[in-house]
């Protein structure tokens, strides 16, 4: 089931990539002691690193969509008796679910994984002089891409950067980890609705509980037309129609 949400706190929403739903949920869960720790991925250079958040007052980084190989190792090294919330890609979520069935897993929607060279090339094509600076982190804030270097941060157009990455599918079509490419093992799947808010797909009772705990800090956009549209997976429909047309034309 789908919800369209955004953070009701304007300062948090201003710093978010789309609607700030993930950060708001994590903050609320830590504040209400529903979870003791949050494990998530933050941007580091052209890649990613794992961050563990213990208090609601700690700074929470924006959601990073890059694949982070250290996430599962860090998760395993943490004490097992503390309840955790993890932000992980769908394939990582599947592995974590097999390890620990009680953890709340929030998953950003899966994109094709891009190597660090690809990101560097895209930045270069956007006009950022990558050879002159050492990039500390890359974040998206709505329609801007914020490239942080040692002593300054540069703003680029996110749409231009996105076009340079050349995504033709919203998920990796060769990936068979989850059947619907929407994080089958995750409790909550979050993605951008391109209108500065998030679409939240809740997949389990644990997910519903997590979202309900954060409801005071979130604003739900109720739109029944949108709900009906969202429930139909257009990507799948498009693919079937394209296959059908291909078969007819080939004959």
């Amino acid at each position: 089931m789908y919800y369209r949400v955004r953070s009701s706190k304007i300062e948090l929403w201003n710093e978010s990539s789309s609607g700030g739903a993930v950060r708001t949920i994590i903050k609320a869960l830590l504040r209400k002691d529903v979870v003791g720790q949050a494990v998530m991925t933050s941007s580091r250079g052209f890649g990613a690193e794992t961050v563990v958040i213990n208090k609601p007052t700690d700074p929470i980084p924006a959601t990073c969509y890059a694949y982070n190989s250290s996430l599962i190792q860090t998760f395993l090294s943490l004490p097992k008796d503390v309840r955790k919330v993890v932000v992980a890609l769908p394939c990582q979520a599947k592995a974590m679910r097999n390890i620990d069935s009680s953890t709340l897993i929030i998953s950003p929607v899966c994109f094709q994984t891009i190597e660090e060279e690809g990101i560097a090339n895209a930045l270069y094509k956007c006009g950022f002089p990558i050879h002159n600076f050492k990039v500390e982190s890359i974040y998206r804030i709505h329609d801007k891409l914020l490239v942080n270097t040692f002593n300054e941060s540069t703003e680029l157009s996110f749409n231009r950067f996105w076009n340079q990455l050349k995504f033709y599918h919203f998920s990796n079509p060769q990936c068979r980890e989850c059947r619907d490419h929407l994080g089958m093992s995750a409790d909550i799947v979050v993605f951008d609705d391109k209108h500065r808010s998030n679409i939240v797909l809740v997949r389990t009772i644990r997910g519903i509980d997590g979202l309900a705990n954060a409801i005071d800090d979130l604003k739900i956009k109720s739109d029944r037309f949108q709900k009906l549209k969202l429930a139909v997976n257009y990507k799948v429909l498009r693919r079937y129609v394209a296959t059908l047309l291909g078969k007819i034309l080939h004959r």
Binding site: R179, D180, M184, R203, I205, I208, D209, A212, K227, V232
Partner: protein, 424 residues
């Protein structure tokens, strides 16, 4: 007040605003409409307003895939849901396009929406099913959560049409982005590729999927279908052992097994030999192709014995007073077990085998297709007659554990409904 679910569902589906004047003129054939002084329109407007107020404040739980209201098993599940989840701020609505229904048999807190059918065949049944589909559409749009109480029809063991009928309400709920909770069911096997895909879509998009057996859990996992937990069926909820047993032997014959096997002749022969007083206890009372009632009446005329006929709860209370119970239907066995009555199960179905195995009672299960059925049956009846007190005593801790686990399951569902109410 007259309601027009057929038309309103179509209009709502295509998001066409309803016009009370149009509906009244079209369907009530009201002559006063042109003067603007129509009592029906005034009533309609007031109903719209009151509906809006109620809809916002109350949580609407839609129970679907309940097939036969004369089936005691389904009624026990419904009673468990109403007694645990029924609260003052909630409406429990029952809607299922293909159900066989009599509103009078439902608990007071449940409201049935749709046309009543008394049998599962004939042209009226199919017309009612199509009309009920629009009722269901309307209720899905209005509800906050959908509870699926179907038994084992999601698999295509009995035919592809059962899977399709079972999945239809679930797929419609997903289309309207409504949360679906699948209460404990037996979900295996899928013989056809089509039914497997259909079930995959229906179950993977559900909020929670509970199954009754470990076998179902492993099977669904191997197919990549979402499954959350193995839990005992909700029919175990509420069964109580009062104490004090008569010398009667209760027996339940299933119409399904009667059609496929002649084991009932041996059962009756053995019971005649033992010279025990027997009571026939049907568990499905209506719909001729499925009814145990007509079968039991026929047996009572043929051989000696009375037929006990009452509602689900009364039948369970009666079973609790029996010395032993011989059951063929799954929920008749549950009725006996939940009241700690010693049971001899006569069945070859996967769900009954799993239930008896989970309770450590495999030795009290007889396969009706066994070559030496009469001998095995007689041996086991004698064994159970000799040890019925010990058996009943041994069952008590097991049943109290099962009832606790069922309560935990219903608590989880209750918490989920509370959370969904906050997200409205």
């Amino acid at each position: 007040m007259v309601d027009f679910p057929f038309i309103t569902s179509i209009l709502q589906f295509f998001h066409i605003p309803r016009s009370p004047e149009f509906l009244a003129a079209e369907y009530l054939n009201c002559k006063m409409i042109q003067n603007g002084d129509c009592p029906h329109i005034r009533a309609w407007h007031s109903m719209e307003l009151s509906e809006t107020v109620t809809r916002e404040s109350r949580t609407r739980i839609l129970v679907t895939n309940m097939f036969n209201v004369w089936n005691h098993g389904e009624m026990l599940i419904l009673r468990a849901i109403t007694s645990f989840l029924g609260k003052s701020d909630r409406d429990i609505i029952l809607s299922c396009p293909y159900s066989i229904m009599d509103k009078k048999l439902l608990p007071e807190s449940v409201r049935y929406v749709g046309r009543e059918s008394r049998k599962s065949w004939g042209i009226t049944y199919y017309i009612n099913s199509v009309i009920n589909l629009f009722y269901l559409l309307r209720e899905i749009k209005r509800c906050d959560v959908v509870l699926d109480v179907g038994g084992d029809t999601i698999s295509d063991n009995d035919g592809i049409k059962y899977t399709f009928a079972h999945c239809l309400p679930l797929l419609l709920a997903h289309l309207f982005s409504k949360p679906v909770i699948i209460l404990p069911q037996t979900i295996l096997p899928f013989k056809h590729r089509f039914t497997r895909s259909l079930a995959r879509v229906a179950l993977n998009n559900s909020l929670a999927v509970f199954v009754r057996e470990k076998g179902s859990y492993d099977y669904l996992k191997s197919l990549g279908i979402k499954v959350d937990k193995v839990s005992f069926g909700c029919a175990f909820y509420g069964g109580q052992y009062e104490g004090g047993r008569s010398n009667l032997i209760g027996i339940n014959f299933s119409r399904y097994l009667y059609r496929r096997s002649s084991h009932h002749i041996h059962v009756l022969n053995v019971l005649k030999e033992l010279n025990e007083e027997i009571v026939y206890i049907p568990h499905v009372l209506a719909d001729e192709p499925r009814s145990d009632y007509t079968l039991c009446i026929a047996f009572s005329h043929e051989c000696k014995g009375r037929v006990f006929l009452s509602d689900a709860e009364e039948t369970r209370n009666f079973i609790s007073t029996l010395k032993i119970f011989i059951g063929e239907r799954y929920h008749s066995i549950i009725s006996a077990l939940s009241t700690c009555t010693p049971v001899l199960a006569v069945s070859n179905s996967f769900k009954v085998k799993s239930l008896m195995k989970d309770l450590g009672l495999e030795e009290y299960l007889v396969d009706p297709f066994d070559q030496n059925f009469e001998g095995v049956f007689k041996e086991k009846v004698l064994k159970i007659l000799n040890t019925h007190d010990t058996l009943s005593r041994d069952l008590r801790p097991k049943i109290s554990y099962i009832q606790r686990s069922v309560c935990e399951l219903l608590e989880t569902v209750d918490k989920c409904i509370i959370a969904l109410g906050r997200l409205k």
